[in-house]
Amino acid sequence: MKNEKYENIVKKYAAKESRVSNAVIAFIVGGLVGVLGEALIEFFCFKFHVSRNEASTFMIITLIFIGSLCTALGFFDKLVSFARCGLLIPITGFAHSMTSAALDFRKEGLVTGIGANMFKLAGTVIIYGVVSAWFFGTIRLLIGG
């Protein structure tokens, strides 16, 4: 079979992904996660009588717990393949990348598997966050004090 024919057939049967619907789904799911975060902050403020800053720390820990648990139970990957950035950009994506890396490399042992590979995907976030925060913080000190 000629290459062109083959490519045409592949194009015909490839799953059609509309970029518009992807973006709309990401918008709705991401927005719902944001609303959930705000609701959790209000809930913790009301329930434990803590300040808003402490409540947002609790909220982040809760979302990380939910993300890790859903990844470990195995159905977070399906949700991610449906919502894409709607779940990868919130802090749940950070928990998802760490837990899935730890689960994937578990069979290679506790130290060389989980220990060495846990930050394989999430490491970029921490490294570029620290480097940029150091860089911008130094600039801020030089400019404004």
């Binding site: 992904e17 970029r19 992807n22 973006a23 990401a26 918008f27 991401g30 719902l32 996660v33 944001g34 609303v35 975060g37 705000e38 609701a39 959790l40 902050i41 209000e42 947002s56 720390t57 909220m59 982040i60 979302l63 990380i64 717990f65 890790s68 648990l69 990844t71 470990a72 195995g74 894409r84 950035c85 709607g86 990868l88 950009i89 919130p90 802090i91 994506g93 950070f94 928990a95 760490m98 837990t99 730890a102 689960l103 994937d104 578990r106 989980i114 846990m118 995907l121 970029t124 976030v125 570029y128 966050g129 940029s132 925060a133 150091w134 911008f136 913080g137 130094t138 801020r140 404004g144």
Partner: protein, 116 residues
């Protein structure tokens, strides 16, 4: 009102990232790195703080808040300790999130077996 703001802000960030992901060759790793750098950039002159005041939880949920918290802790420490404070206070505010993520990941990886 703050719930609507949360929805719009978190949704807008996710929507923009999805558009970037679909139309370029960048991976999700690239996009989260860019967003973290953007979050810490916006906090040089406390712009992100004002966003958090208006938007509330919706601004704390996306990964941009991670960069914001990093530089926020560093600058808070730097105001009392000088340039060395940036190094000392870097993880002051994000320590809880990173520690929780490590502990939950480790415990779940030991308890559960991968499904695939």
């Amino acid at each position: 009102m703050i719930f609507i703001n949360s929805f719009l802000f978190a949704g807008a960030i996710c929507c923009i990232s999805q558009i970037i992901l679909d139309n370029t060759k960048l991976t999700p790793g690239h996009i989260t790195s860019i967003l973290v750098v953007l979050g810490s950039f916006l906090d040089i002159f406390n712009i992100y703080d004002k966003i958090v005041e208006v938007v509330g939880g919706g601004a704390m949920v996306p990964i941009t808040s991670f960069g914001h918290l990093l530089i926020h802790g560093a600058l808070a420490k730097a105001s009392s300790m000088g340039p060395l404070g940036i190094v000392m206070g870097m993880f002051d505010l994000t320590a809880s999130g990173i520690t929780a993520a490590i502990i939950f990941s480790f415990v779940f990886a030991v308890i559960f077996k991968p499904k695939n």
